[in-house]
Structure formats: C-alpha cells, structure tokens
Symmetry: C2
Subunit: 344 residues, 2 copies
C-alpha cells in the first residue's frame, strides 16, 4: 500500500508486492522525469521505422479505439491498445483532453501507457508519461519520413505551427538533417517569438515567415503541425523538389493542405492507409475528388523497400501522418527495456 | 523512477512524482493485500445497491467493451470502462485470462483497475487487484439480490459449483442470511471437499448434495456459479418459495438454468436488461421461446422501489446476473476512498 510520507515538493510512495510464484514480480512504475531520462538513450527513429514496417506487413493487431466523452466540464478520453504478433508485450494507452484544465493550472492533456506480458497477461510496467511519449513518437515519425523522403539537399526547413509538436519536429529533424536554415510561421506572434526563443541557444538559424507563401518559397522540407480546419499550405506555394510532412490533421475535420496540393504531388505516403480512409489530408483530398490511388503508398512499405519512395530531387512528396498504435507499442517497449536495464 | 532495491520476498518500489501545480498530486498505487485490508472496512453490499439503482436510472455511461485475443498461448484481454454522470471519477478495468498460466505457477486471471478524475482526466489511483475486486463485486451483487428477493425464512442455502465465486457467494450470503444449513454440489469431488474444508472453521454446516435435485429439495435460496454450457438446474427440481441467483452465465453460450425454469418463475430480475438481450439465462430462455416479458424487471428498479420485488413467500424468483461496469466503478471508488482515509 502507498503511504504518503511527505507532503513537500517531492512525494514519496512505497509499494510492496507479494511474491506469488517463481515467475512473479511486481510491475515497474516510471514517472515522466525518468521516462525523459530513458528516452535520451533510445534511438526513437529506428524503433519507429521497425514499427511502421511491422504494421505494413500486417503483423500488428490494433482493435478499435475506446472513447468516453464528458460534458461538464468538457473532456474526452481515448483508450488505444494493440500488439505486434509474436512479440513479448501488449500495450494500452490512455489519453485524455480536458480543455478547461488550464484554469486549474493543470495541463489539458493527461496520459499513461501500460505494458503487459503478451504470453501471461501480467502487468509489466506503468509509464506515467502524461502524454509525453505520444508527442515523442509523433516527432520521431516526422524524422523517419524526412530521412527517407526528403530531397538530398535541404535548402530550408519550414515549420508551420508553433506548439509543442512544432518544436519537437524541429528538434528531431535536427538529428538527421544538416541544414540549419529554418522558417517558421504561426498565427499568433507571441507564440512565434516563444518558438524562436526556444532555439536561441542552438546552431539553428530561425527566420520568421511573414506569410505561409514564404515557407514554400524558401523551404523544400516543410512540416505542418497545426489543428487547422481550413487549408493553410496551397498547391501554388510549392516548388518541385519539396517534401511536406502533414502532422496536424488526425480527424475527419482537420485539414492543413489544400487538396489540389495532393493532386500536384508525385508520391503520397500514409502511415496507415486504412486510417486515411476516414481522417487526415488524404481523406480530405479524396472528399474533394482529387485522384490519388496510383501514387499512394503506406509508409512501412517504403521503409522496407517493397515500394520505392522518392525517385529524384524534382519530385514533390507528401507524408500524411495520422498516428498509429504501433508507435505507442514501440516507444513503450523501448522505455520499459531501458528502465529495466538501468536498474539491473 | 523505480529502483528494485531488494530481491527477497517483499519487493520495494519507490516512486517520486513531480509537483506540477497546486492541484497536482501523484496517483496512489495499491496492491492486493492493501486492497483486501481496505475491503474489510467497506460495506460492499450497500455500494452495489447504490450502483445498480444509478444504473437503472440511466445515470451510468458504459461504452462497448474493448477486447484483444491472443492465440499462442491462448488468452483474452477485456477493457471495461465507464462512469456515473456528475460523479468524481471514471474507471477503467483491465482483465485478462491466460489459461496456460497455471503451467507457470501463475493465476490465469490478471487484472487491475484505474481510477481517474472525471473533471480533469488526472490519474488518481492504480488498484493492482489481480482480479480480486471483480470477484468481490460479483459476490456482493449476489448478496444484494438475496437480501431483497429471497423468501423471509431460508431453510437451506444451495451452492452449485465449488470455485472461488462459489466460496465468495457463500461468504457474502453469511453476512445477511442467518440460515446455517448449506448444501453444495460440484462435478469434481476433490473440489467439493476443498469447498467443505474451506468452511470447516465457521458455524456453517456444509452438506454435500449427491445430485443437483437434492439442492432443489433442501434449499430455497440457491446460487449457481459454474461455467456450464448445458442446463444444470431443472424446473422440476424447484419448489414454490425458492429464490435462485444465476451467476455463472455471462456469455451467449453459457447456461446453468433449464429455460423452462424461467417460464415457471413468478419474477425474473436482470442486473442489466440490455446485456440480457445477448447473454446469460434470460437470453437462453428467450432463444428457447420462453415468454418472460411480463415478469422481467431490472435489479436497480426493484432496489429503488420503482417496481415491486417478491410478493409473497410462495413465489419463485430468479436473478440473472451478467455483471455490469457500474459494479467495478463502485468498488474501485470505495477502495480508493478507504485507502486515502487511512493515509491522511
């Protein structure tokens, strides 16, 4: 049982587990600061690549998402779960958004991941990540896509949006792209300044774009990270030899790319073609009768080499990422293993 | 982060939570032995009554159950979740069955419950109950039903089945029924002996029934607790003035009561009429064209007094319990509050 021993800044909880059998041991419980420490030792980009390949190979079981909605105050809870066949674990992720939390000085997003033994059902680990692992796996997916689909020479990195994900996308791109010239665009100038400040001690040169068109003009690797419900990036802004990763739209009503831009692209990558039928940029383009079928490829199939990716440095490529459960499975497993290694 | 400090019988885990805001505190984590201790202070029967009333009043939100199936080794995982409207919490229960676990010296059932703040989404408590709270809430529901529907004078208590739930049903009935004469029937004589031994130091007098017919002959309060897929208790065995609680059938293929017995009954109680449409004894009787509609009542509506229960001591009453999520919500809340009270 847990005894609340101190009421000062750091709370200490004890938990004692009974030993019930030879195989039995208690689950590990890892809080956010330890998760961040573990992440610094994990090659998140490689584990995402492996996850997307497994997913496109049909090796991942992802049942329908569970959902609970609240009205007073408004909030939503999503339960995502699944496993890779013949793997050691299954993972359940619980994530919520209560948008009036800021009035209480609390983050609106709350979240945790649970890791279980796939062969016995035993709980192995509780990752109290408060939604951070979702942010990281999403950023790492952006880096995977850029690594495999961006043109060889990047003249400028364009970031549309200024939130947590915009920041993380740029941090993860910096791990794999040598280009230091960045253009950022955001609707809110205060948030744009915060974004610029965040990178002030790095070797990145952050420029503020006066409009979105400038992003298309100066950048050939562009990431969109907003919750926009009307198109931001237009087909006419984009030059040949550009790669665009659209991270923001993950529902049926969000859209960041003008549908005609998908029509103009040479290659369109989806992290999950089945999810693209009901959400994201591909869904929006299809709704607008833009034909895509001959150029639509699932990410894992490009990564595995089954289907070619970018053919030359003049192609326009677009990746539409709506987020798949295998990313959660991969990152939860990696954090668990890292924490376990540190402790034994 | 968790440091595994000792490898001997009791393992000690530490967890430190960052304090992020005035309202923020870490979740409590409670293991099975502490849950059992907390339960000894909880009036489980009353909280089940309140839960069933709220459920029948339409105050409980219960989304569809999440499910994952495994084949090598065979196993299943169920995620049940829901909340009472305008309450403080929402609850997620994860329960699994891996039936080859016994070969590893592990229980086949694994389980935990998670309690969250319904107004902010914050995780409040992790109850590592290993399935025990489900057993207890199921047993407590049996006691609720007996308290409200059994005839005034109980001549004998009949228990069909000898497993954990059979034992718990009798323990919970003992809290509210003064009758000490018990008849037990089980298919496996070794398990019957174990059941008898379990109660050897109590003031209950446990008799072994040579067949199920004897249960009907000597007992006017009967509980069935088996996973049988063919009827055990026949209409012809049952005398006027008997109450039967059928706990075992919770799927579309399990059945313990002959459909004609439901036809013979004066009153049939379901814990959830909507669940009874697809599983349990009521489902089976309807499949066999036994008309029930004029005598079928939802448990919460009897408990609240909206619809009368037993009318006299000659009626035959049947309660078909398939288990509803509000029971999990009620017991998780109660354990959390009890543990919190102990600590502050």
């Amino acid at each position: 049982m847990i005894a609340n021993k101190r009421k000062n800044k750091k709370r200490l909880f004890d938990i004692r587990f009974r030993k019930k059998g030879k195989q039995m041991s208690g689950p590990s419980i890892t809080d956010l600061s330890s998760i961040k420490k573990a992440l610094s030792h994990i090659d998140t980009i490689s584990i995402m690549e492996e996850g997307f390949i497994a997913y496109s190979n049909g090796e991942v079981v992802v049942p329908p998402v569970g959902e609970m909605l609240f009205s007073d105050p408004p909030g939503d809870v999503h339960i995502k779960y699944g496993y890779i066949k013949h793997d050691d674990f299954y993972v359940i992720k619980i994530a919520s958004g209560f948008y009036q939390n800021s009035q209480l000085g609390l983050p609106s997003s709350q979240g945790m991941m649970l890791l279980f033994n796939q062969k016995t059902g035993e709980l192995q680990s509780i990752l109290l990540d408060e939604g951070h692992l979702t942010d990281i796996r999403t950023a790492a997916a952006g880096a995977v896509v850029a690594k495999h689909l961006a043109p060889k020479l990047i003249s400028g990195i364009g970031i549309i949006g200024t939130g947590t994900q915009a920041r993380l996308q740029l941090e993860y791109l910096s791990k794999i792209i040598t280009c230091k010239n960045v253009w950022v665009w955001g609707r809110n100038q205060k948030n744009v300044s915060k974004f610029v400040d965040h990178f002030s001690n790095t070797n990145l040169e952050i420029n503020i774009a006066s409009d979105i068109q400038e992003i298309g003009e100066y950048c050939n690797l562009i990431v969109t990270t907003t919750p926009s419900t009307s198109p931001l990036l237009k087909a006419s802004y984009i030059k040949p030899g550009t790669h665009i990763t659209a991270m923001g739209s993950d529902t049926s009503d969000k859209i960041e790319l003008e549908p005609a831009l998908l029509g103009k692209a040479d290659l369109i990558i989806s992290d999950s073609i089945s999810q693209s039928e009901t959400r994201g940029e591909i869904f929006q383009a299809r709704k607008n009768n833009v034909p895509l079928d001959n150029k639509l490829v699932e990410l894992g199939n490009t990564l595995s080499g089954k289907i070619p990716g970018r053919q030359d440095d003049q192609q326009i490529t677009i990746a539409d990422l709506t987020g798949v459960a295998v990313q959660d499975i991969q990152i939860a497993k990696a954090v668990f293993k890292q924490v376990k290694n540190e402790n034994f």
